[in-house]
């Protein structure tokens, strides 16, 4: 089945022209006989459109292609997980955004814009996946820096988690417990509930499949496995439903006056993530090697890159969130 978002005939936009048998002959994928009005040469000409999205360059891409990521992923696994998979995501992005007014939008902006549009689910998925996959590979390097070399970041993490071992255990156990592909994130989140303070703290977040960690697209965070939850646990996950009439709730004058976001600002900065999709670790660790993959990942994280991504206030004095 093809997604409804494609309003153009499939043969025009995609180079991979597979169409499910039920859709052949529909207006979206006309048979070749109907399309033979076009001259033969034109039909056989490959798509000459200049692409707008390109695979982003990784700093150590050349080394990774030759030798793989040391002590982590081989060069064949890297080829699958990054070179081919990111190219696939970018190609799908180009196909889905070609000719549209948002064709020059960034992947993050696409994810936020289409988080609540089920007709654009495919576009959201590919944009978010491209974004998350690049996030994962941006914290890997040939000579990773240890966390001990970044004392302010380490101290900040210890303040929240108690110890680095606890942080490691929490992240890796969470990732192991996730059944199915997804990502596990370490996020710096700012607490905006109380006006005048911006107390921030570290949080660990799970996103199944291509869920996004950004709060603006929270509708598609996909933080829990909906198959193992019922309505009440899901609503508890989503948070308490507040009354939208009367003197309490988000539409009262008091709450409307409260700034939900700082001026021009945001409230979450993802800092580190691990990609638990099978195609990343299947070739090197085997079908039952998820645990080994995760522990190897923890040893390979480049904490220097993490420190650069982390915001300045997360590396300062300790901050607590109290509930």
């Amino acid at each position: 089945m093809i997604t409804r978002r494609l309003a153009r005939p499939l043969s025009q936009s995609s180079s991979s022209a597979w169409v499910c048998p039920a859709c052949i002959g529909s207006p979206f994928a006309p048979r070749q006989a109907a399309a033979s009005i076009l001259p033969q040469t034109r039909r056989q000409q490959p798509q000459q459109r200049r692409s707008i999205h390109h695979v982003p360059p990784l700093t150590y891409d050349a080394t990774f292609q030759q030798d793989g990521i040391p002590n982590f992923i081989s060069k064949y696994g890297y080829k699958i997980a990054w070179t081919e998979y990111q190219a696939l995501m970018v190609q799908k992005l180009n196909e889905l955004t070609a000719g549209e007014p948002y064709e020059h939008s960034l992947t993050k902006d696409l994810a936020i814009q289409f988080a609540r549009d089920p007709m654009s689910a495919s576009l959201f998925n590919h944009a978010s996946m491209a974004h998350n996959n690049h996030y994962f590979f941006s914290t890997l390097s040939t000579h990773p820096s240890k966390l001990d070399n970044h004392p302010s970041l380490k101290q900040s993490l210890i303040s929240t988690f108690g110890s680095i071992e606890t942080l490691q255990m929490t992240m890796l156990d969470t990732a192991s417990a996730m059944f199915g592909p997804g990502f596990v994130w370490l996020i710096w989140a700012r607490d905006l509930d109380i006006v005048g303070t911006r107390r921030g703290g570290w949080r660990i977040l799970t996103t199944y499949l291509a869920g996004t960690p950004y709060v603006e697209a929270g509708y598609r965070q996909q933080g829990i496995d909906t198959n193992t939850n019922n309505a009440s646990s899901q609503s508890a996950y989503r948070g308490p439903i507040s009354n939208n009439v009367g003197y309490m709730g988000q539409y009262t004058k008091a709450n409307m006056d409260k700034a939900k976001l700082p001026p021009g600002g945001t409230n979450a900065q993802p800092v580190l993530c691990v990609n638990t999709w099978e195609h990343v670790w299947l070739r090197d660790y085997g079908i039952s090697g998820k645990r080994a993959f995760l522990s190897d990942w923890w040893d390979t994280v480049d904490w220097g890159a993490v420190e650069q991504i982390a915001p300045k206030e997360s590396k300062g004095p300790a901050q607590f969130i109290r509930y």
Binding site: H54, A130, M248, K253, P263, T266
Partner: protein, 467 residues
């Protein structure tokens, strides 16, 4: 017992028996203030978390001045997050962003045929609407529909003329000239404002009031004027002279829509103000001094051209400021001002009205010079007032060297006129066009970029000084 009962009946007299005073609920209610009276509501989540008493859910919290450090932290956080996350996901190929033509306009060095083509600068009008004098700028005819062929402007001509115009604008601003950017079509307001801001000039995006130059004293008479020195700092002491002085005229006019501004261009031609204009295929090239053959109907092409000229003006301003800081000033400074406190007699006692009338008279004096010419015939006699070498016959050296402050050496005390006098408000401004036998809006190059500031000698064969 009876006494107690008696007491209970006589309540008003209770104060007489303090030992058996009773307190009544009404008394307590009237005097008691509940310390928790403000806490009317308990806010919080359904499961009891985050519960805290609030004074009132309907009143907004007392407005607190935002902590400046917090605002800075918020800003830094959001900027960092934007910078980090926008690069992640995919790399976007360079593409056209409309706002960048205003926020970061292209420079003269960025002029390429690709840029002009992408900005639709080559698209002309229907062939039936063309002006035949533009034939040399036209590349050919595009007939997508046989009923409506259009002309295509040759982009190498566009590029060449645009580069020349940029040089002119930068040359004028380098010598302290005033450039006026005019664009009265819809959407051109922000363009001209931005270009004028870069070049340190003036802008106009509404209708040109006819007579703003030819009848300037009437239309601009109430506008403020000031005298600035080479460092662009206001110089006090010229207030009286400014009241008498004429209204300011621009030294160069850039017009983005020629067809709608005929009156402006005609006035500039009458006053020998050079004009640069975007020449579409249906425009009359004789209306302007320096054409830029390009499409004036596309906002994108207009923004590219105006942006380039604005950037050129910015470069000229930068050079002027560098020169001024080093003390290298433009040579001719015909501002027509006297040093404050050295005014001639009979001037100080004039009222404001008389001064304004005298200013109007002096404004028209430029016309007097024109009347001296033999219209239609060749110019053989040049009016004496036009000759800058009026003093040369007496052997006085013409001051082409650097000026230090107000120069009154060429002040003719007899006639009370300055040689080649012209009312200039800006201290080091130079007029880029002169009277003296010029045909209005002629082909002469008014600003010579090869002017040598050191020797400053530019003589014509006929002995008449030229700029």
């Amino acid at each position: 017992m009876a006494s107690r009962l008696a007491l209970s009946k006589s309540t008003p007299l209770a104060h007489l028996r303090p030992r058996q005073r009773r307190t009544y609920a009404s008394e307590i209610e009237s005097t008691y203030t509940n310390p928790h009276a403000d806490q009317q509501f308990i806010a919080g989540a359904l499961d009891g978390s985050k519960s805290h008493a609030v004074q009132s859910a309907t009143t907004s919290p007392a407005p607190t001045t935002p902590d400046p450090d917090q605002v800075l932290r918020d800003y830094e956080f959001s900027q960092h997050q934007k910078a980090v996350t926008s690069k992640i996901g995919s790399t976007l190929a360079p593409h056209y962003r409309p706002h960048e033509l205003l926020s970061n306009p292209p420079s003269p060095k960025d002029i390429t045929l690709e840029l002009l083509l992408a900005s639709q600068a080559h698209i002309g009008h229907s062939t039936s609407l063309w002006h035949p004098a533009n034939a040399k700028y036209i590349f050919g005819v595009l007939a997508q529909t046989p009923s409506d062929p259009i002309h295509i402007i040759s982009l190498d001509a566009t590029a060449a003329y645009l580069r020349r115009a940029a040089k002119i604008v930068s040359g004028v601003t380098e010598r302290g000239g005033l450039v006026l950017f005019v664009g009265s079509r819809g959407g051109q307001a922000s363009t001209v404002v931005r270009a004028a801001g870069l070049a340190g000039g003036c802008h106009l995006f509404t209708k040109w009031i006819p007579g703003t130059i030819t009848n300037g004293q009437q239309i601009l008479g109430k506008c403020g004027k000031k005298v600035v020195d080479h460092r662009d700092e206001a110089v006090p002491g010229f207030e009286e002279q400014l009241i008498k002085s004429a209204a300011v005229k621009p030294d160069l006019v850039v017009c983005l829509n020629m067809l709608e501004n005929y009156v402006l261009l005609h006035e500039c031609a009458l006053n020998n103000i050079p004009t640069i204009g975007i020449l579409d295929t249906d425009c009359n090239p004789t209306w302007i001094t320096y054409p830029i053959p390009a499409n004036d109907d596309s906002l994108r092409s207009v923004q590219v051209i105006a942006g380039v000229l604005g950037r050129a003006g910015e470069e000229g301003q930068k050079k002027r400021k560098v020169n001024a800081a080093r003390g290298r000033l433009p040579m001719r400074q015909d501002h027509g001002l006297e040093a404050p406190g050295e005014e001639g007699e009979g001037v100080g006692g004039l009222g404001k009205e008389m001064s304004a009338l005298m200013a109007a008279e002096r404004f028209g004096e430029d016309e007097v010079e024109l009347e001296g010419r033999d219209v239609g015939g060749e110019v053989e006699e040049v009016d004496a007032s036009l000759l800058e070498d009026g003093m040369e016959a007496e052997g006085v050296e013409v001051p082409y060297e650097r000026d230090e402050g107000v120069d009154i050496r060429n002040w003719d005390t007899e006639t009370g006129e300055r040689m080649g006098r012209r009312s200039e408000q800006v201290g080091s401004a130079q007029r880029s066009a002169r009277t003296g036998g010029s045909l209005g809006g002629g082909e002469r190059s008014h600003v010579d970029p090869t002017w040598d500031g050191e020797t400053g000698e530019r003589y014509d064969e006929g002995g008449v000084k030229r700029r």
